[in-house]
Amino acid sequence: MNRIFASRLLPLMATGLVLVALFAAAGAGYENFLSARVVLNLFKDRAFLGVVAVGMTFVILSGGIDLSVGAVMAFTTVFLAKVIGGLGWSAPVAMLAAVGIGVGFGMFQGWVIHFFRIPAFLVTLAGMFLARGMAFVVSPRSVEIRSAFYDDLGERGLPLGEGLLLTVGPLMYLVVVAAGMVVAHGTRFGRNVYALGGNEASAALMGLPVGATRVGVYGVCGGCAALGGVISTLALSSGDPTRGTGLELDAIAAAVIGGTVLTGGRGWVFGTFLGVLILGTIKTILDFDGSLDPAWLRIASGGLLLGFILLQKLIARQSVS
């Protein structure tokens, strides 16, 4: 019993260990790396990815995949820029509308996947092109967002002392992670998601609402992607149709590094949180160093993703035999 428990949490512990090791190595290698400001900046910089990755975790837990998240995020940013700047909507209304669009788009994808039995990767790949193209329809160029609400929100946050401020973006990120943990591990919907990912046929035979769960999961993911877009506009005060290219892989990588198994049914939202921090730390190290080619970021995240999948394989093989 003890051993089973240990092997179950092993991926999560490995993730934590990698994070600590990365931080320790960076702290030893670079001066001033181990400071609250660096950590805070990491949170600020990766908040949008963190939120998107939570949504992705739900989709992967249900046994699916969503490749459209980066494009949905990009669409959200230009949508916000357009309706706030061009049409004069009030910012909070625009944000709610944007998240609503994200949820709706996600649910539509989930419905197509479920009802027509088309592979999730194909539907969401098409969704990615659809959303990216629509972003370019809204605005072919990057647009600045000028809004008193944005300026005001930029100055607000949770003071942490020493002049450090946890701004709204990273705060939203932490809230989403907490909410995700509650939903995944403490609600009926969460249990259905795990059941669906574990074995769809048995979930259906048990009388669980398979269709509604799947539609809901993609809705959550679309909503998270849109919320990621909102956070990104808060950080950069602009909308850009090219933003979030390749984000889907980062989000998948974060989930997998955090111990979520790609075939579904097993994983933790908290693990994804750690995964995002690992990816963020690698990026921070590359930024800190300056002499390393930024291309290493892609290779490192690809390699790390591969390493963790192999680790999962190894664990799965051991627990079977």
Binding site: F116, A126, F129, L130, G133, F136, W296, L306
Partner: protein, 329 residues
């Protein structure tokens, strides 16, 4: 009505519809002229550009999808091979060696995909997604994220030259398609691929080396992507590591699916994929002709690919018509 059952019919019908629309909407669409010993015209362009990327990628992708997999890394592998070929000619290597190096590395990356999938047992989507990101990173790393311009007549000829009046890529790619199709259908290789995609376990028990089959198709897909990347670089005499092959994996999947190869594997049609690639290229060109911005062009493409998939969907087929019911075995 055997003709209607052929998977080739629908992509051909769609292609004809598009061509008729173009003939009406843009006069001179079918104008082809002979100048300086080669053919010029919009239709020739469709063949040329269609061959260079979608058709070539679709060749490899068809076989990958037939085994029940998918290869998302083709765009990144294009970037790697284009960059390698460009850097080789800049270093003074002859064209054949440069192209060989690009193709070799591309095939190797494809084989890495194959090993991860066939030997390690990763899901194809994930293994090739990793390669998609790491491959793009490799291309950036090799070139220092800079565009690599080059001046090499014989490499440029590969994309812009002509053989017997036809553009070199058209001859090259159609030739490759015919040879591939001939080899697959005249030997048992095609059957092995379809068997692997249909039921891997049963095929393995029947004595087919399914691991070897999968390894080979991903290697071949890498090779095709590599050739496509070299041609893309040769076309503009420069390799752009960030742009070459970007989002082209969807084009390849589009061509394959539109051509009647089922995503579930077990069946393939190379001829269908060739027609699918021409359909895609014609659609792209039609959108440009109708002044749709290039960045917006993916929207209608995505709609078409979804529509095609819906038509293939068992649910829809069950509802609308017994015509498409499979013959009981």
């Amino acid at each position: 009505m055997k003709v209607l059952r052929s998977t080739l019919v629908w992509p051909l019908v769609a292609l004809v519809v598009l061509l008729v629309f173009n003939a009406v909407a843009s006069p001179g669409f079918f104008h082809v002229e002979w100048k300086d010993g080669r053919l010029f015209g919009t239709v020739v362009d469709i063949f040329n550009q269609g061959a260079r990327v979608p058709m070539l990628l679709a060749l490899g992708m068809t076989l990958v999808i037939a085994t029940g997999g998918v290869d998302l890394s083709v765009g990144s592998i294009m970037a790697v091979s284009g960059a390698v070929a460009a850097m080789q000619v800049n270093a003074g290597a002859p064209m054949v060696q440069a192209v060989g190096a690009g193709l070799g590395l591309a095939t190797l990356l494809g084989l890495v995909n194959g090993v991860l999938i066939a030997r390690v047992g990763l899901q194809p989507i994930i293994a090739t997604l990793v390669m998609m990101v790491a491959g793009r990173g490799l291309a950036m790393l090799l070139t220092g994220s800079q565009m690599v311009p080059f001046a090499n007549r014989s490499l440029t000829w590969l994309a812009n030259g002509s053989v017997g009046g036809l553009p070199v890529p058209v001859v090259l790619v159609l030739g490759l398609a015919v040879v591939t199709g001939w080899v697959l259908r005249r030997t048992a290789a095609g059957l092995f691929i379809e068997a692997t995609g249909d039921n891997e376990k049963a095929s393995r028990l029947a004595g087919i080396q399914t691991g070897g089959v999968r390894l080979a198709v991903y290697g071949f897909s890498g090779f095709c992507a590599g050739l496509s990347g070299v041609l893309e670089a040769a076309n503009i005499s420069a390799a752009d590591p960030a742009r070459i092959g970007d989002t082209r994996e969807l084009d390849a999947i589009f061509a394959v699916v539109a051509g009647g190869t089922a995503l579930t594997g077990g069946r393939f049609s190379l001829a269908g994929s060739v027609v699918g690639a021409l359909l895609l290229q014609t659609l792209t060109l039609t959108l440009y002709n109708q002044n749709v911005a290039p960045a917006v062009a993916p929207v209608p493409k995505a709609v078409v690919i979804l529509a095609v998939c819906l038509l293939h969907s068992p649910r829809l087929r069950a509802r609308f018509g017994k015509r498409t019911q499979p013959v009981a075995a």
